[in-house]
């Protein structure tokens, strides 16, 4: 019997044009939480997909409990005891929690030659798992009604029901509140004490130090090193990941603020937020802090014409404007980088070029035939993506083949091309590695220095505190404070965000 639940030796995997994994190793002990870190595109996802049998490695070995792992079909991974909690959960929304857990192997009851699903047995078994994990979930609840946190717990319960010995968690906290994170960590510790090996993928440094025992770092598909978390500092870890020193994560330059560009007065949108009032000056970054459900995204969607206004006014350069659609918003000089890259950002099957120009298409229409000017499209695509340092094999590559950070840069390029005066950036660095994050922070700061005005929504307090000139704090659809940069602290923002 091996000391390790999982041993990956010298694993390599290439895709056309990319060496995604190049001799990667990873060893995970039972009862340990092992972080796998690396920038976007470092090869984390490819490695996990190899473990789950979704990709077949070109060379190298994977040993699971000392034996060579063969996974002819992804469903076999679960049966063997390897489970993954994906970043984006995909439950059968219309069916109850317990059916999601036992899908494909419902308990049966026989009547002669017939066999029926035994709902009672399923309920009892599900309850038993929930009690064991101390989960507060109803097995009969419709899965689609669950919060993201509860869906994750359902997935964990499912893994437990398979007696999984290796649990892979991909960015499990990206949409959880602080309380939910604490609860998740409690469950992780319990699984750890039961001898489950856990691979923990996250970009949030603070979590790695809170919950993980070891960390393996990947960079550009290569193995950089394995360390005990206890003997590591944040700076060392970042250096391992990016291969260089990051001087500052939040390089907001101080620039003199100009006139008021945008004024929002008593804005409300039914069921989302009420009575929001703020000013935004030229060159200013105005941060929006708050917990999930505070109404920040809804506020931004309303400003961009995606939601109705029930009362209040929006003024740009002192003149009242009416924004009923994203087209109106664009015409008024607004740009909107949405929080959900996949569902409202990228056009997955489209090329990098198509994704770069889609918000600016009309400016390429050439008279007299109203055809598109491809020479200018190519120049602009190259210029803006080079400026943002987008890494892509070519500008004709489908954007879905790029890493999250690079996709985000293309989306920033998309909006910069519209030459906006006011940029709304909703979670611009969500799910993005430290290197790309620092680059995006630098870009945001640069844009402000050039005289653009920026509304920045982020759930990461250090980001908000580091980047913003002023901070609007919201709580359940209400604006609870506007803090100056010099007065703001993590504690103060949290106080207003939780409205205590």
């Amino acid at each position: 019997m091996s000391d390790y639940t999982l041993e990956v030796e010298n694993l390599s995997k290439a895709f056309p044009g990319v060496q995604a994994l190049d001799g990667v190793s990873l060893r995970v002990r039972p009862g340990h939480v092992h972080a796998v870190m690396g920038e976007n595109g470092a090869g984390k996802s490819t490695l996990m997909k190899c473990l789950l049998g979704l990709y077949r490695p070109d060379s190298g070995r994977i040993l699971f409990k000392g034996e060579e792992l063969r996974i002819p079909h992804p469903s076999v991974a679960l049966a063997k005891g390897i489970a993954m909690i994906h970043q984006e959960l995909n439950p059968v929304a219309e069916r109850p929690v317990m059916e999601n857990i036992w899908l494909g192997r419902f308990p049966r009851r026989r009547f002669g030659p017939l066999s029926f699903v035994d709902a009672e047995a399923m309920h009892v078994r599900t309850r038993a798992i929930f009690e064991d994990l101390e989960l507060n979930l109803d097995p009969r609840e419709r899965a689609g009604n669950l919060t993201v946190a509860k869906m994750q717990m359902m997935e964990i319960a499912k893994a437990v029901s398979y007696n999984s010995e290796l649990l892979i968690m991909d960015e499990p906290t990206s949409s959880l509140t602080e309380t939910e994170i604490a609860q998740l960590f409690k469950i992780i510790r319990r699984l750890r004490s039961q001898g489950v090996a856990i691979i923990y993928i996250s970009h949030k440094m603070e979590e790695i130090f809170r919950i993980c025992d070891e960390v393996t770092v990947l960079r550009d598909g290569k193995f950089v090193g394995e360390r005990d978390v206890a003997s590591l500092t944040i700076e060392e870890l970042i250096r391992m990941m990016v291969g260089r020193e990051l001087t500052s994560l939040f390089p907001k330059q101080d620039v003199p603020l100009g006139d008021v560009r945008l004024r929002v007065e008593g804005l409300s949108s039914p069921g989302a937020f009420e009575n929001v009032t703020f000013d935004l000056r030229r060159g200013e970054i105005l941060g929006f802090a708050g917990l999930v459900g505070a109404g920040r995204t809804e506020l931004m969607e309303t400003l961009f014409g995606l939601r109705p206004i029930s009362s209040g006014r929006v003024l740009i350069d002192g003149g009242e404007i009416r924004i009923r659609s994203p087209r109106d918003a664009k015409r008024a000089g607004l740009a909107f980088l949405t929080e959900d890259r996949r569902s409202t950002g990228i056009i997955g099957v489209g090329s990098v070029t198509d994704n770069t120009i889609i918000a600016n298409l009309l400016s390429y229409v050439k008279k007299p035939l109203r055809l598109l000017d491809f020479a200018r499209i190519r120049t602009d695509t190259r210029e803006y993506n080079e400026r943002l340092r987008t890494r892509t094999p070519s500008y004709e590559t489908r954007i879905q083949n790029l890493s999250g950070g690079n996709q985000q840069k293309v989306l920033v390029a998309r909006w910069l091309l519209t030459r906006p005066d006011i940029l709304i950036l909703d979670e611009p660095t969500r799910g993005i590695d430290v290197g790309a994050k620092a680059e995006i922070h630098a870009i945001i700061s640069e844009l402000a220095a050039e005289g653009n005005s920026i509304l920045l929504v982020s759930s990461e307090l250090p980001e908000i505190l580091g980047m913003s000139d002023r901070i609007v704090v919201m709580h359940e659809g209400r604006q609870t404070a506007i803090l100056e940069r010099k007065d703001a602290s993590q504690e103060l923002v949290m106080k207003y965000a939780t409205a205590v």
Binding site: L306, A329, T338, S343, G345, V349, I358, A359, V365, L372
Partner: protein
């Protein structure tokens, strides 16, 4: 090196299949590789080709159009009724363009309705166009009481029967339409919008694309092409008939599907559509020349459609 060859073969597999089919039927049958046979193929598939171009655009926008066959029927009877010989005509002897314009208008109206339902009521395109399919067929039957509209004027029929040298005028309409659709899809903002809407409607909307107007336009173009095809069919066959165009919508969907237009939207090219149309045309024509029974022909066609999609999807799998 080997990988590269596989890549190239994958990329051009559709055209390779077409060439192989042509080679096969040229060798296996006597009459296949002749000018008259090529012209008869063009004549019989040009109208379906027109429909397929429109349906292809709709599918790229992540929709579907089931109404095209019925639009063919309705447009054919409307066109025919304005192009009858004066002694049988209800409308005297209007100039030819009246028949053409009114038939096209049938398409524009039905298409705009399809698009409006899809865009503004959010009902699935399958349902919206299924309704239109039934309604248009019913209107055609009501308009004619089920009788064919025949005895058409020479000056109208020439639209569907004229030859330019050895090439039927019908084929030229198709080529012109294919060229126009190619320009629209590749070189206009409208075309890029269609791809974007099909690829990710929400992202397109946030980017300021007017999703609704573009959808109305794409369904309108599709039904216009079908109606134009129906008018041509009346001209070619010397009659309008409420039974025309039966199952044409399915042939059109099949052709562009074989041509690699993805039903998940956002993907597909005009050259693929044309190749798909030609593959179905060649197979149909070749099997007839081989003396294969019409029943077996249907079976073969069905297998090709499903096989083509299975192959197409297997290309994009990464493992």
């Amino acid at each position: 090196m080997k990988n590269r060859l596989v890549q190239i073969l994958n990329k051009y597999s559709l055209y390779l299949v077409l060439v192989l089919l042509v080679l096969f039927f040229s060798i296996a049958t006597e009459g296949f590789f002749t000018v008259p046979n090529a012209m008869s193929m063009l004549t019989s598939w040009s109208i379906k080709g027109l429909i397929a171009l429109g349906v292809g655009m709709v599918i790229i926008s992540r929709g579907i159009d089931l109404s095209s066959g019925s639009v063919v029927a309705l447009a054919s009877v409307v066109a025919a009724s304005f192009a009858q010989n004066p002694e049988v005509s209800k409308f005297g002897m209007p100039p030819v363009f009246v028949a053409v314009v009114l038939a096209s208008l049938v398409g524009v109206v039905i298409g705009a309705c399809n698009g409006a339902f899809v865009a503004y009521t959010k009902i699935p395109p399958f349902i919206a166009t299924l309704g239109a399919m039934t309604v248009a067929r019913g209107l055609a039957l009501m308009y004619t009481k089920g009788f064919p509209v025949s005895q058409l004027r020479e000056d109208f029929m020439i639209l569907g029967r004229a030859m330019v040298g050895p090439v039927p005028l019908l084929a030229i309409y198709f080529l012109v339409a294919a060229g126009a659709v190619w320009v629209i899809l590749n070189h206009t903002a409208f075309g890029k919008n269609i791809y974007a809407i099909g690829g990710n409607e929400n992202a397109a909307r946030v980017s300021g694309v007017s999703v609704e107007l573009n959808l109305v336009a794409v369904y309108t173009i599709a039904a216009f092409l079908a109606a134009f095809g129906g008018m041509l069919m009346a001209a070619r066959t010397a009659a309008g008939n409420a039974t025309y165009g039966n199952m044409y919508e399915l042939d059109a969907i099949a052709a562009v599907t074989v041509g690699g237009i993805s039903h998940s939207g956002g993907l597909g090219t005009v050259s693929g559509m044309v190749a798909g149309i030609m593959i179905l045309a060649v197979v149909e024509n070749g099997l007839i020349l081989l003396g294969v029974s019409p029943y077996l022909q249907q079976v073969v066609k069905g297998c090709i459609i499903v096989g083509a999609v299975i192959y197409d999807m297997s290309k994009h799998k990464r493992r």
